[in-house]
Each structure stands twice: as C-alpha cells, then as structure tokens.
C-alpha cells in the first residue's frame, strides 16, 4: 500500500541543508503495522510528517519517493492533499493541544471531518462523532462533545484527536506517540481499538513511538531509527528478542521490567547527537560498546540471513552476546 524509498529530509543551517532524516525506506501493507522507534531527535516524527507533505518548516524533503499505491505523494501539491489526508491517510499527532482547534468544541472537530470527507449531513455526522468518542473510551460523549479543548484533560484531548482520525476510517493511519500521554489502562483500550480497525477495514498502521512495550504488543515489523537513519529493520520478534544492532540491544536492555528485578539497569552512555552534530562514520560509534576498526566509516544497511537489515559492521548475530551493564556515567 505505502512504499517509501530513500526518503531524506534536510533543515537549513548556516546556508546548507543539514540532514535530519537520511535514506529512509520501508513498506506498509493493508492490515499491517510498522513501528518506527527511537529516542527524541532521531527523526521519527519528521519522517512521519514528511509522508503526508507536512515536513515542519524550514525543513524540506531533499530526495526519495513516497508511493501510496500508484500515487506519488511527494509530487502532491495544494488541494490534491485534501483527497488524501484524512480519508486515505489519517494522522494522529503527538501534541493534541496544537493539533486541535481551540475555538471549536470536541464534537465539532470530529464532525467537521465527517462532513468534509465523507459528505455526511449535520445530524448524521454529529451522531457518528459521538459514536467515535465512545469508541475511544471517552465517558459521556453527549456532554464531553460540547467542551472546548482547553476544558479537557490531556488524556481526553488525545482521545478526541484519535476519534477524529479513526472516524474517517482511513486506509493508512500514521500515529505519532498515540498513547504516550495516556494511562496504561486506556492505552490498552486504544491499541485494541486500532487493531479492530485493522481487522475490520484492513487499515495499515505506522506507529511512531519510543515505547518498546507498545511496539511488542501491536507491531508486525519494526524500524529502529538513530540520528536520522534506520539502523535496524525487521520482524518485531526477531528485532526485539535478538537485536543485532548495539543501539537496539541497548534500548531493549535499558527498560526496567515489571516482572523481574536486576540490580542495575543497562545504560547507553552519553546522549543522542543533534542533527548537524552527527559524528563521522557510524553515528552510534561514540556510544557503542562494540566499536572497533572500520566503524569510523559510514555504514550501509545490510541484510542478515534472518531477513532483517542492520546498519552495523559488527552486528550481534547470536543471543549469547550481552551488552555490558555500564556503570552510570556522565552524558556528554
């Protein structure tokens, strides 16, 4: 359904375009879920926005192709997007307060999409809007629908935005941290709702998140991003159970588990480099416990025998190799 090839996005800095996303490629099929994971600043949000022509200015797409079936989305301009956004590709943004219009009530914002995209009449759209609010677990939709965004809690706003997106039953949904602001019990409810939409309508889903628990629950495939590049991509079970890239391995090991206790959590030294400050060669090298000769050169994504791709000269290929549990050290 969606095929992204070699997508790059740059931001102007000192008269040059600094890459924030570089040569990102992936596919999403009907009913399938791809998770894009990584820490803040890795380029996952910019990637998601660029797919639907919303690259945050002054950033711009510098190369690549984004195909929705036969339609080249990067050539789409102006009003052509109206037929695509919302109906074909829905988007759940990370920050509901800026994504919702402050001068319209929650119900109006959901109904507006239904009138515009699905040509529903007033009463019908309103009824459907209330039904969508109930679907995302908003208690008492008739009264909540009349509240303005500022009168709703963060979790409620998030759910209003999700309701507005799924009410249109898009073929593909891009969800940027859709459940991060929600309590765990509500999170599970939203995930189950998204899965029901996939089951019933074959909706494709791109979920952008830093939460590997959410990824494990919902995703079929996962792309791990670091410093603007995909560093590992493959089947969710392969990647999370036997991470081949040391960054993926570090992320998985750093998560405290609810069902076991260890004395120390494994950590990844240092912090994620900002765009424009990427180190030469492998971008993870300064933080990598396995860095060795050759890592000072840029690395390509390479396929492994188990079907995944990895951007590492020394990928971990069996599960007995453990990332060292580092003593807490200075981030620099």
């Amino acid at each position: 359904m969606l095929t992204v090839s070699d997508l790059s996005v740059g931001f102007p800095k000192d008269g040059e375009l600094t890459p924030a996303v570089e040569n990102v490629s992936f596919e999403v099929g009907a009913g399938e879920t791809l998770a894009i994971v990584g820490e803040s600043g890795c380029g996952k949000t910019v990637t998601g926005l660029s797919l639907i022509g919303l690259t945050p200015p002054p950033g711009q797409v510098t190369s690549g192709r984004v195909m929705l079936d036969d339609l080249d989305l990067l050539r789409c301009r102006g009003r052509a997007w109206e037929a695509i956004r919302g109906r074909q590709i829905g988007m759940i943004f990370q920050d509901p307060l800026t994504a919702l219009d402050p001068v319209y009530t929650a119900g109006e914002q959901i109904a507006e999409g239904l009138r515009f995209h699905l040509k529903m009449r007033g009463a019908e759209a309103w009824k459907q809007a209330l039904a969508s609010m109930a679907d995302v677990g908003i208690p008492d939709p008739p009264s909540r629908s009349r509240l303005y965004p500022h009168q709703l809690s963060g979790g409620m706003r998030q759910r209003v935005m999700i309701a507005a997106a799924i009410a249109l039953k898009p073929r593909l949904l891009i969800a940027d941290e859709p459940t991060t602001a929600l309590d765990v019990t509500v999170q599970l409810q939203i995930i189950e709702l998204l899965q029901a939409l996939q089951r019933e309508h074959g909706m494709g889903l791109i979920i952008i998140t830093h939460d590997l628990g959410v990824v494990a629950r919902i995703a079929h495939r996962v792309a791990v991003m670091y410093a603007g590049q995909i560093v590992e991509q493959g089947d969710v079970q392969t990647v999370l159970e036997t991470p081949a890239h040391p960054y993926t391995a570090g992320l998985v090991a750093a998560i405290p588990r609810v069902d076991s206790v260890s004395d120390r959590l494994a950590t990844i030294e240092g912090t994620v480099p900002a765009p424009g400050n990427y180190p030469p060669g492998c971008r993870f090298r300064p933080r990598c416990p396995r860095a060795a000769a050759g890592c000072e050169l840029p690395q390509e994504l390479r396929p492994l025998l188990d079907g995944r791709t990895v951007r590492c000269l020394y990928p971990r290929t069996d599960r007995t190799m453990e990332i060292r549990s580092e003593k807490t050290e200075v981030e620099s």
């Binding site: 099929g29 765990v184 019990t185 599970l188 899965q195 959410v214 995703a219 079970q237 959590l265 050290e329």
Partner: protein, 287 residues
C-alpha cells in the same frame, strides 16, 4: 486492602513521615468539592523507599505535596519524626524543609534559567546557613556525586540535556543531605537510555545516604526496580500497600491486578496471538 477508617498504627520509633487519615479537598469554581486525597494513611521509615503509583488524577502528586507541606491537609495529621508537621513554624519549619526535599518531573521548568549551576547548588546552603566558606568544595562534591564534570559548575541550565538537568535537580536536592526525598515522576520525561542512568543513580544515592524516598510514578516497572514498599492509589485512596516484591507477585486488589495486567513489556512473543489475529499479513510462521 487497607481500610483507612479502621486503621490506626501508632507512630513507630523509626517513623520518618506518617500521613494519618489525611484528606485534601479542593473546591471547583462551580462549588463542587473534590477529595483529591481521601483518608490516606501512609508511613515511611528512615532510609526506606516507598513507591506511590497510580494513574493520572489518582491523587499521588497531591499526596507528595501534602507530605512536603507545600499544601495543608483539609483534615488528618502529618507527622514528621513523630511531630505534627502542621505545627512547624519559624525555625522548626526551616529545619523540616532542610530535611525534606523534592525532585520534580520537568527538568526544564524546575531550574532557574538565570542561575549558573554553581548558584543553583549553593542557594539551598545559603538559605540554611550551611557550609559557609566551603561552598566551592560542596559544589564539586555534589557534581561528582551525580556524575557531572566539575567544569559544569559555571554553565547555565539551557546548556544541558534533559538527563543532565535532572542530575542537577538531584544534586540540588542532595545539597542539604535530606532525610526524605520526594521524587515526583523524576524520569518520566527522559529518553529510555537516559532514564536508566537516572534510575541507577537514584538507587545508588538512596542506598549510600540511607535516605528515605517517596517515589511517585505511573510507571510500575520503575517502582518495582527502585522501591522496597509500594502503595497503589486510585480516586484519592490507597487501595493496596505492601512490600514491593509481594505486591507485584501476588496483588490482592482488583485494581492493582488491572494495572499490572495493562503494562506492556517489550516481549513480542507474549502478544503473538493478539497481533496475528488482528489481520497482520504475516505469511511467515511466527517462529
């Protein structure tokens, strides 16, 4: 499950902080009264770490602010080392504040942007008239304790990452060598890899200084990792409280079980059925 109406522990000899049947009610503009904290009884002993978990709106942050006397209870009593904290005035209050410190969730709004790290760390000492003439050594000691380089003393907060700022917040809280540290979602805004660094640091510091800690979090996995005892809050009330290991292994209250069951762990095999049933076009045999 505890019944706050019946429960009445005496204050034990090593009790550091005790909330006894504490209520905090807020009145909305329309005149509705909401009990954000409803008959909460909790005790923290010297050197002990207590995790307070619950979802948004459960009253856990309000409980933390009550414990620190940043809010006064509507009814009920808060004891600090056996003394009624409501009665603290002047020198007593200052002494209490020295012994109870807080770390906030947002490391961007909780540090004064116009102060250098050096000032941020010495301000508590100046207020309490401590370490006069030894401020320099104190600052260096604190930076070392939280794993920051000495030269950072002359920088401003904006020059640091989120994780580094949270280290500065922790150093500032430690400057007075408090007996009680209240940490309100201290790692929630941090990236996973940095979060692990801060959790390890807090665990080390709590053990080294034998400092009691009230750790407020929505993240049960973090609490399991850090706290000896855990209390679960819902709708302003404590629904279950006990030794962490026991509570996680054998939760008694239905709500605790619901919370534990809702947590997603990064183990895809666990959710294989939930995933494939949902129409994924996985043609390969799931392993």
């Amino acid at each position: 499950m505890t019944d706050p109406d019946v429960q009445d522990h005496p204050v034990s000899s090593d009790s550091l902080l005790k909330l006894d049947n504490v209520v905090k009610a807020f009145t909305s503009r329309r005149g509705d009264v909401v009990r954000a904290v409803d008959r909460v009884t909790l005790e923290i002993r010297e050197g002990e770490s207590l995790g307070l978990v619950g979802e948004s709106g459960s009253g856990k942050s309000t409980t933390g602010r009550l414990a620190l006397r940043l809010l006064s209870p509507t009814s009920g009593t808060i004891y600090f080392r056996g003394q009624n904290a409501a009665g603290f005035r002047g020198a007593d209050l200052l002494a209490f504040r020295r012994q109870a410190q807080i770390i906030f969730q947002d490391p961007f709004s909780s540090l004064n942007p116009r102060m250098r790290v050096r000032q941020i760390l010495t301000e508590p000492l100046v207020i309490h008239g401590l370490a006069r003439g030894r401020e320099r050594e104190e600052v260096m000691g604190l930076l070392d304790m939280v794993g920051l380089r000495p030269e950072y003393a002359d920088r401003y907060p904006f020059q640091f990452s989120g994780g580094q700022r949270q280290r500065i917040s922790i150093a500032r809280a430690l400057a007075l060598r408090p007996r009680l540290m209240i940490a309100d979602e201290p790692v929630s805004s941090l990236d996973v890899s940095v979060q692990a660094q801060i959790i390890n640091l807090m665990r080390d510091l709590q053990a080294q200084h034998r400092m009691a800690m009230l750790f407020i979090s929505h993240n049960l996995a973090v609490v399991r990792h850090l706290c000896q005892r855990t209390a679960v809050m819902r709708g302003g009330q404590i629904v279950e409280e006990g030794p962490t290991e026991e509570l996680f292994r054998n939760p008694q209250h239905e709500y605790t079980r619901l919370l534990l069951d809702s947590i997603l762990t990064p183990e895809p095999a666990r959710y294989r059925d939930a995933r494939t049933e949902d129409g994924g076009r996985r043609t390969e045999d799931g392993g």
